[in-house]
Symmetry: C2
Subunit: 894 residues, 2 copies
Amino acid sequence: MSKWVYGFGGGRAEGRADMKNLLGGKGANLAEMANLGIPVPPGFTIPTEVCTYYYSNGNTYPAALIEQVAEALNRVEEIMGAKFGDAANPLLVSVRSGARASMPGMMDTILNLGLNDVSVEGLAKRSGDARFAYDSYRRFIQMYSDVVLGVEHHHFEDILEEAKTDRDITLDTELTADDWKKVVGKYKDKVLAQLGAPFPQDVHDQLWGAVGAVFGSWMNQRAITYRRLHDIPEIWGTAVNVQAMVFGNMGDDCCTGVCFTRDPSNGDNDFYGEFLVNAQGEDVVAGIRTPQQLTKHGRELQRSDLPSMEEVMPEVFRELNAIRHKLEAHYTDMQDMEFTVQQKRLWMLQTRTGKRTTNAALKIAVDMAREGLITRKEAIGRIDPAALDQLLHPTLDPKAERNLLARGLPASPGAASGKVVFSAEDAEAWVKDKKEQVILVRIETSPEDIGGMHVSQGILTTRGGMTSHAAVVARGMGTPCVAGCGEVRVDYAAKTLKVAGRVVSEGDVITIDGGTGEVFLGAVPTVQPELTGDFATLMEWVDTIRILKVRANAETPTDAATARKFGAEGIGLCRTEHMFFAPERILAVREMILAANEKGRRTALAKLLPFQRQDFTDLFNIMQGLPVTIRLLDPPLHEFLPHTDAEIDEIAAAAGVEPDAVKARNASLHESNPMLGHRGCRLGITYPEIYEMQARAIFEAAVQVSRETGRTVTPEIMIPLVGAKKELDILKASIDKVALAVFEESAYQLKYMVGTMIELPRAALLAGQIAESAEFFSFGTNDLTQTTFGMSRDDSGPFLEVYRAKGIYEHDPFAQLDQAGVGELVKIASERGRAARPGLKLGICGEHGGDPSSIAFCQSVGLDYVSCSPYRVPIARLAAAQAALGDAKGSGMH
Amino acid sequence: MSKWVYGFGGGRAEGRADMKNLLGGKGANLAEMANLGIPVPPGFTIPTEVCTYYYSNGNTYPAALIEQVAEALNRVEEIMGAKFGDAANPLLVSVRSGARASMPGMMDTILNLGLNDVSVEGLAKRSGDARFAYDSYRRFIQMYSDVVLGVEHHHFEDILEEAKTDRDITLDTELTADDWKKVVGKYKDKVLAQLGAPFPQDVHDQLWGAVGAVFGSWMNQRAITYRRLHDIPEIWGTAVNVQAMVFGNMGDDCCTGVCFTRDPSNGDNDFYGEFLVNAQGEDVVAGIRTPQQLTKHGRELQRSDLPSMEEVMPEVFRELNAIRHKLEAHYTDMQDMEFTVQQKRLWMLQTRTGKRTTNAALKIAVDMAREGLITRKEAIGRIDPAALDQLLHPTLDPKAERNLLARGLPASPGAASGKVVFSAEDAEAWVKDKKEQVILVRIETSPEDIGGMHVSQGILTTRGGMTSHAAVVARGMGTPCVAGCGEVRVDYAAKTLKVAGRVVSEGDVITIDGGTGEVFLGAVPTVQPELTGDFATLMEWVDTIRILKVRANAETPTDAATARKFGAEGIGLCRTEHMFFAPERILAVREMILAANEKGRRTALAKLLPFQRQDFTDLFNIMQGLPVTIRLLDPPLHEFLPHTDAEIDEIAAAAGVEPDAVKARNASLHESNPMLGHRGCRLGITYPEIYEMQARAIFEAAVQVSRETGRTVTPEIMIPLVGAKKELDILKASIDKVALAVFEESAYQLKYMVGTMIELPRAALLAGQIAESAEFFSFGTNDLTQTTFGMSRDDSGPFLEVYRAKGIYEHDPFAQLDQAGVGELVKIASERGRAARPGLKLGICGEHGGDPSSIAFCQSVGLDYVSCSPYRVPIARLAAAQAALGDAKGSGMH
């Protein structure tokens, strides 16, 4: 016969901590504590298997469950020396959910179950406190009716209000036992009136009602939403824990509290916690009374007037402190515990691995490794790479007041305040001329806004997702960004933004938190990040473990310097087009685009050459011999053309043509789907002189820096959007020719590589041919995801949310690499590429290069390096180490 | 030692007809004729291998070549009884190119080689005609100097003009032997003056100069362009044929001519040809003299006053006629021959398979099969499927005068005249109200132009390629279309088009030829196609051979009826969105898009339901039980919204909203890359009610037609743009629910299938999962090509031409399936799909479904059917038969 119930208590248990999948986190840890000899109120767990059974069998239970529950309940009665529903010495129980992953507050809980008109008298007698007994009874009726019977809370609140009004008092505590007795009567009448049936007096009916309610709550809307947000599969189900009640509110020798084996906010190895004398757990949560500190040290730190537990209940405190050490040593991690003291007797109600700030996580992991509690490898595995991000940016001062205006997507972490401007030009002007700090607010951004984005403290857009232009560029720059803030309406003409009736004008100050997506009116003070010694220590350990190299995507000297600071081992993607938007360059770029023929284009390109050469000279100098992969021009030319009349007039005058000619060129370059248009190496094929100029700039810079520093630069030139070997052959031949010319002119030779992006499905499939010519591959997984899914990053917002809600895609494929589809192409290309050219260098330079689960995938298919934005380099280093340790979770997508 | 020279003549030869790759077409056939005992002037062929050697060895020859040529030349001298360069009896030779594929006029030819100041006297004596000898010498100097020495033609023309002026005569024929002698002297002086060296007198120098010139001409610009246009690889090279000269201009017992074993214009089994008495081949080509007919029958047909060869040279004619029969029987195909009669002796100079009109090709193939000369299978293999297209549409009367205006792409075959209109609305109004025939002229077309395109006689666009919207829709409708006519400038405001200074206004008549891409001013009469008995016969044979089924892409009753007429075995793609643009429907569609919520959308959709049901009722009735695959709504919703102010006001009024709300919706639906946006099944997922309405319309129509006709309809419902199994699962469940409801309401059951397009790389890769839910796959290779290449069909024009010119893509991948990339995905999807669901029905419904080489590929990967536009159904049937016979050529792409 299947085992449907697992008992615990009285110094032993049928479960264990490692049976979390079956018993849920709470049940498994209760069993574990019982086995360790730690005092837990006895009880039993109905495992998650029953939940699965329940949902796949039309909300029914396995046949043997009722009998097994009865047996387990008997054991609890024996241990507690009380009887369920008994008139003299009634056993009361709690019924709680307990899923494999913590889902705090998402599912239902029933306390004080087992009370009825008879047993309440027994409780009154045994506790010697009728007021307590009837208060417990009315709490039970209220909770049970709400959760199990569906009688809404407010009905009971009204009755309670009435009772207090009748007595002309304001606090619950002023009500007497008799008052509560009357309230209980009225509660029962209300249930009868609402349901046409009395409140159940049979305690077994009560129990089964509560169990059903807990299983039912697995599918309530809150729980469904929570699971979606936290990637928890529905199939896991929840367990139900039935456990003897203990009371922290039976007098002043009672208390209840929560504690952590170390300080969860800073990680210090101090016993940390709070408790309330003569109170129940819900009183701690409700926050009506001010809790007292557990330790004297804690009380002093908090400058609290209330005595600590260490001082008022020294013996129980010693017992609790011993349990603290026992549990942390046993679980080898910081524990979050709940306890109740009933008449001087300590009961542990829960232990679990405690949540902590990222700073605390770092300190605890490093400390524990030093203490010998865990290994360095374990310490590395303890840190969530994604959470590191918050350490690298300023954050809002947690104590500061704030006036929430709107909420968008947390697109680039960090917090910043500034005056609102509505155009990139204004941003540049305000910063330069007025020396103001600004927040750039746009419906969406485009490459021509780069200058303005660069000088802004933060960026707010009303459209676009986590991988929109604004988000990607902002993350690359380390600038805070809130994207896709749909409730905000921008009026460019009026220079205002409106949200829910509130109007913010140009020059008004706002604050954005790119880590949460929140936007506040006014300035909110921020706290600067400190990369503590623990951070540095962990990063050192990380670098001894990982196999994948980590590079950064960077094109400006600032980005490159940041990348080095964060430990990047080279530049994996330098996007040369970003260099073309500076005011002194864009005119020459536009002149090139408007030129009537190749001669005209070459004349304009000659003006760009010195700028471009200086760009690379700077990068090579900063990177000090580390590899630099430079991608030649990628975006379609129309991205560089002006669209306002004033700009059109300016460029027309400069180029010596009519404004209409500029407009005509604009029109002729218009594309229905620019993503799939005349861009990437297609530009190099149709206008060879562009790539020739870029290659010349690279080689001249490389020669100059090598010669001046004595440190040889080995440029890696990368051709974008290749779909056929012959594209690469033609362009490589042209680059080789330029190299030869520069080496002859300068009487200096150096090595270089020519490789390609793999960002089209065709390139992945034909990787074997392409690798015959390419000396390296870099997977451009942004575009590869767009083409493989046939889904534009910029346009997918409206349906991607629905897709995630309906479970079609578990993750945003632009944030987390789709292993089933895009991943197969990466694998195919890697295999075919390496088969054609053994040792072919493979890397990834899409947004996924900074995503931990994608990094694990990159390791699994044998890439040599990942490249990500500078601020994600530490994250990638950690994720790479975890991947090497095999700790990272895989990504699933159906 | 390698063999570098292949001799022929004197009743035997070292080559054969099947050595065409080595000897070129001309050389192989000369050898074959020699072996057959047919009189050919003796000579030798320097094979294509030498050309390859020449280009891969710095324009040098293999060492043994000179000796082998000398030997071969000796044999020719022996056979002719003359000596090269001899003063008494000189041998003259021609030097001609001869490639594997015919490249008429693209490469160089030298005649009369072997003449110098000495041998010209020998020729004069032997022929007894000094005038002939010196005329030949001056022709030789002129030709050789131009081709080999680079002295331009006009220098010699000037001298000739001068000579005639001096003598005060106008015709060359009036010049005497002495005149020619003087001209020769001046020619030689001119060469000396131009080159600083005399005209070569050494005949062996002459020969090697000519051989080098022929090899050199393989890489001249004309030849390179021709090869690109005709897909001839450069690596093939050309052979050189050196052959004894024979003269048709040595008197009235001499002649020269060309002839065909059957009539190449209509295919009749009549000996057909022309000849000129006392003339050289170039005189026939020059067209100065009117040629005479070969046969009496021919003379009578042509009502010619000039006597036929049959009448004036009956013996030689009989000999020629015997050779005609011998050659046709030997080659089992219609031959195109050249001959010369020198002093009553017949010499065959060339035979090759003759070019013919498609009508003639059909008749000849069917006749020859009936005559037992070839098998039916061979007859099927003889017809170029693509050429069939010209039989199915009206063509310009070849005799009509025409005034060429411009040239664009031949986007949809057929010729049509009409008055120019510049908008779809005007087209509809002019046709309906004024009963005019119109040609719709647009910069480009969009789905909302469908109505206007439908009523137009022809369509002309200035932008877009062979696979632009206009081209695809026009081919589907069988409407003539010239697309991408870049030289034409359209001014919508002025309602004019301009081309090279000429202005055409609204209402002016133009004619377009969609088979050639030409646009003419005024009306040019057209000729209607006749699907002759031979066509029908061949199609019958075809259907007994082919394995692939052929369906049509059709949505209107007209299209469906056309498809059936052309032999379609079902509808493979019915694009439901095309049904939404009719005036009475578009308003409801827009109301649906503008609705604030699902309820509003359902109200609008309820208005569309009856229309949509009628659409399917009509189709099911026409198709009489043949399968009909219906694709649910595919394009993004913004394609249906109006963009002009007037239209916006209209829809706003109808929907009861402000015009600004319409504009706001327009803006909110705007997409950067609509091709990769919110379309296909993404609409079905986000707005389930749209697909529900369509499914209901399909099932209600199917029930009604099945019940009324007693012929069961089995609808095949196709979900577009699927990228994940779960998309299909959700939509299939919804369709199944609608089906159940309709079946219950109507008390009628029928079978149906739900399948999916495979048009995204991800769908192809995950085909195994998708096939668990999909009952059929239809490859949407248009979109699959766009996503696999990352290349928008609409935007690729500007670079695709350059790509083809540089040899990156040999073919337009939108016209001919890219087997290496897209093809691999089709293969992967087919294999994985069939592995998951054995017997899974597979088809293709992209433009490639009507392309012969792509059809061969479809057969090779095991598809069940191809679906193409109705007018291409016969082409697809023929191509499918050829694929079954293994005759189709593969497609190459690097």
